[in-house]
């Protein structure tokens, strides 16, 4: 079934949905502009703006539900943004089931993380700035998902990249944070390079970048063009969503404050690639090759992320590896076409909840342990931090896919859809799930079970209520989310007007061969982790480990590869270019100047200053003239 027509809307809450973006944007502007004046209440303003934005999103959602299914794609024109020659973009918002789902996730989880940050950042002197950046992020992310054209998406796309840069580098005084921020931005820019070229191609093909016209006419374009567009957009998606080969920035991005990791680098921003692929479904459906590449990238990343997750001792980096892997699932599902879109988005939303719960839980642990991130210095924390333990635990059970928590529904749906399209992809996804069972259990057991391996000055304690309440709400979401979305196919039905639906939608089978194999593998992984990290003592210094461990610890040599392939040659090239510019280009110019100077120096020696020699030259000159005259006269 094809997606529904887009209808232009002017009134109602949907007509005013620009408020969703404007509120946090104004919040950020006030906090940045008035600076220290707002220090005392800045965090409250930021949180209020985010909550208000959430309220608008909920109202718009309710209003959208009031329309018939065929009328649930509503476009709100805002203003004439960019009329440059024949490139003309009118900025507007597209409120449809897909974008409103994202908006709810962003503002909902975003607000919870704002609230949590009030507690988490309470002792930071720059807390106000932190909230300004968070608000900026929410606004940019909403531009990304709500815009009704690719240029708007690109603006939001780079906007979230900027917010991510500011927040990763929030502690700029730490050189590692400053470097990680720059790296994230630059790697993302490589992806943006692809996305920009994709948008250029869309424009030269369709003469417009508005979804309304592009997506409705995608079928008429040539397959080659669509494949090129699809692959270019995929490059953009890889950058933003940390998929192979642009994955390297995400692990470093953990230098940012933990709420940032939860919001940007787990729940929302990194899923933008999935949004892009789903939104551009009409393009990918006309380009099977591009779709195949998307699924391969997704499958490869889900395994790579899982392997990295197995070897990290830094709790945040282990979770970051897991994020990569889970987004791999989503990208895989989005690459499957209409059969997978709903599952990709459902997994994305469920992941938003359980991963945010776990990141915030990790933040709570770090808060309690003097910002210690090494899991080898944790252990046995379940007794001192019961709420964190319980909420983190629910998130853990959800991610490894224990029925009937949300991860079970959403991940199994993806596995089934992948099996349906290609058994190879399906089994890769099953194996990934097994590894997930191991590495998440490892995190869980190293942190909350086993011996206490705390540093001598650590006095862990439960976090304040302002931090635990968001955890509780998020864990409720992790438990119930998947079931609500998948069971009965409600979410697929809701998304249908926006992304279309396959001829025969896949029904969810609670009991199936791949499902049972998955559960068995997950339990086996968990059991192995239990014997290794809960039953036996965990050394405080990481053992050297096998080649595979080193391989995973060093992020599959991704950084090493980047360094030797791009960074080093780049540095050489830079030095060469600077040398060439100074000695080559400028050298020619200065050489020319020196040559002229030298020549005139030599010519100057003729000017001896003796009157007689001047007189002689006058005389010779006169003689020459006379001679010439005589010569001419004699002819």
């Amino acid at each position: 079934m094809q997606p529904a027509e887009i209808i232009t809307e002017t009134g109602g809450v949907i007509g005013a949905s620009w408020l969703m973006i404007a509120l946090p944007a104004v919040g950020a502007a006030i906090l940045l502009l008035f600076g220290r004046l707002t220090d005392r209440w800045g965090h409250l303003l930021g949180t209020a703006m985010s909550l208000a934005s959430f309220a608008v999103a909920v109202l718009a959602f309710v209003e959208l539900l009031g329309f018939d299914e065929a009328e649930r794609r509503r476009q709100v024109m805002l203003y004439d943004f960019l009329p440059a020659g024949s490139f003309h973009v009118e900025m507007g918002l597209l409120i449809d089931p897909l974008s409103i789902s994202f908006a709810l996730l962003i503002t909902g989880v975003g607000s919870l993380i704002h609230i949590y940050s009030i507690g988490y950042m309470a002792h930071d002197e720059k807390r106000r700035k932190f909230f300004a950046y968070l608000n900026l992020f929410v606004a940019a992310m909403l531009v990304l998902v709500l815009a009704d054209n690719y240029l708007g998406l690109y603006i939001g796309w780079e906007g979230v990249g900027l917010a991510s840069y500011l927040l990763i580098g929030f502690w700029q005084h730490k050189p590692s944070a400053a470097t990680a921020a720059k790296k994230a931005f630059v790697v993302n820019r490589v992806g943006d390079f692809g996305l920009a070229l994709g948008i250029f191609t869309i424009f030269t093909t369709f003469g417009t970048v508005a979804y309304k016209d592009v997506l409705a006419n995608a079928g008429a374009a040539e397959q080659v063009t669509l494949t090129v567009i699809g692959l270019l957009l995929l490059l953009g998606a890889c950058g933003k969503s940390a998929q192979l080969p642009l994955q390297s920035w995400l692990l470093d991005a953990m230098e940012g404050p933990t709420p940032v990791s939860a919001l940007i680098h787990a729940a929302t921003m990194v899923t933008a690639g999935v949004y892009l692929i789903t939104r551009s479904g009409a393009i990918y459906e006309g380009a099977p090759t591009a779709q195949l590449v998307v699924t391969i990238v997704g499958a490869a990343t889900l395994i790579a992320g899982a392997i990295i997750g197995c070897a990290k001792d830094d709790i945040k980096k282990a979770l970051a590896g897991s994020t990569m892997s889970q987004i791999g699932y989503m990208v895989l599902a989005a690459g499957l076409g209409p059969i997978g879109y709903a599952f990709a988005i459902a997994h994305l939303i469920a992941h938003g909840f359980f991963k945010a719960a776990m990141f915030l839980g990790a933040g709570s642990v770090m808060h309690a342990m003097n910002d210690e991130v090494d899991m080898r210095r944790y252990g046995g924390l379940r007794t001192v931090m019961p709420i964190t333990f319980a909420t983190f635990g629910l998130g853990y059970l959800a991610i490894i896919g224990i029925p009937p928590l949300s991860g079970w529904f959403t991940k199994d749906s993806i596995i089934e859809a992948a099996m349906h399209v290609s058994p190879v992809l399906g089994w890769v996804a099953v194996i990934g799930a097994g590894i997930t069972g191991f590495y998440m259990s490892r995190v869980m057991f190293m942190t909350f079970f086993g011996e206490k391996r705390w540093a001598s000055d650590a006095h862990p304690h439960e976090s304040p209520k302002v931090m635990t309440w968001p955890l509780i709400l998020l864990s409720v979401g992790s438990v119930l989310g998947g079931g609500l979305l998948i069971a009965g196919g409600t979410f697929a039905e809701f998304l249908r007007p926006a992304v279309g639906a396959p001829e025969e939608p896949l029904a969810f089978h609670p009991v199936s061969v791949p499902g049972i194999v998955t559960i068995v593998l997950v339990l086996a992984g968990a059991a192995y982790a239990w014997t290794k990290y809960a039953k036996s003592p965990v050394p405080e210094v990481a053992p050297r480990g096998s080649f595979l461990t080193t391989f995973a610890r060093r992020d599959l040599y991704g950084d090493a590869l980047n360094e030797s392939l791009f960074m080093r040659p780049g540095q050489w090239l830079t030095r060469l270019a600077v040398f060439f510019d100074n000695r080559g280009v400028d050298g020619i110019v200065n050489g020319l100047a020196a040559a002229i100077g030298g020549t005139s120096g030599r010519l100057r020696r003729i000017q001896t200053g003796f009157v007689r020699s001047y007189a002689l030259s006058v005389f010779l000159g006169a003689a020459a003239v006379v001679g010439a005259l005589l010569a001419v006269g004699s002819f």
Binding site: Q607, T608, G609, F610, V611, R612, A615, L616, F619
Partner: protein
């Protein structure tokens, strides 16, 4: 007849020119310049006489007037130079060089 005058004029001019080129004393150089001027005058007057008009004689008067003015300025400079440098050699007059 005319040829003799012209040969004398050429000889005087050549003597003056060589003097300018080889002598160092400013006064002598100066006198040689005058000699060249007078050689020219002689040639002018000769031609005037030969052609039977006064043009050459008038030019000779002009040359004398200019030469007189030149002598005034030139001698003044030479005297001043001699006063400051205790020398009338043209080779010592190198203030304009560097």
């Amino acid at each position: 007849m005319t040829t003799h005058y012209l040969v004398l004029s050429a000889l005087l001019f050549a003597i003056g020119a060589i003097g300018v080129l080889v002598r160092r004393n400013a006064i002598v150089v100066f006198m040689c310049v005058e000699l060249m001027l007078n050689a020219c005058n002689l040639a002018f007057v000769t031609f005037a006489r030969q052609h039977g008009n006064l043009d050459g004689q008038i030019i000779a008067f002009f040359v004398m007037v200019v030469a007189a003015a030149e002598v005034v300025v030139g001698l003044a400079i030479i005297v001043t130079m001699f006063r400051t440098r205790r020398s009338a050699s043209v080779d010592d007059a190198n203030l304009l060089k560097n």
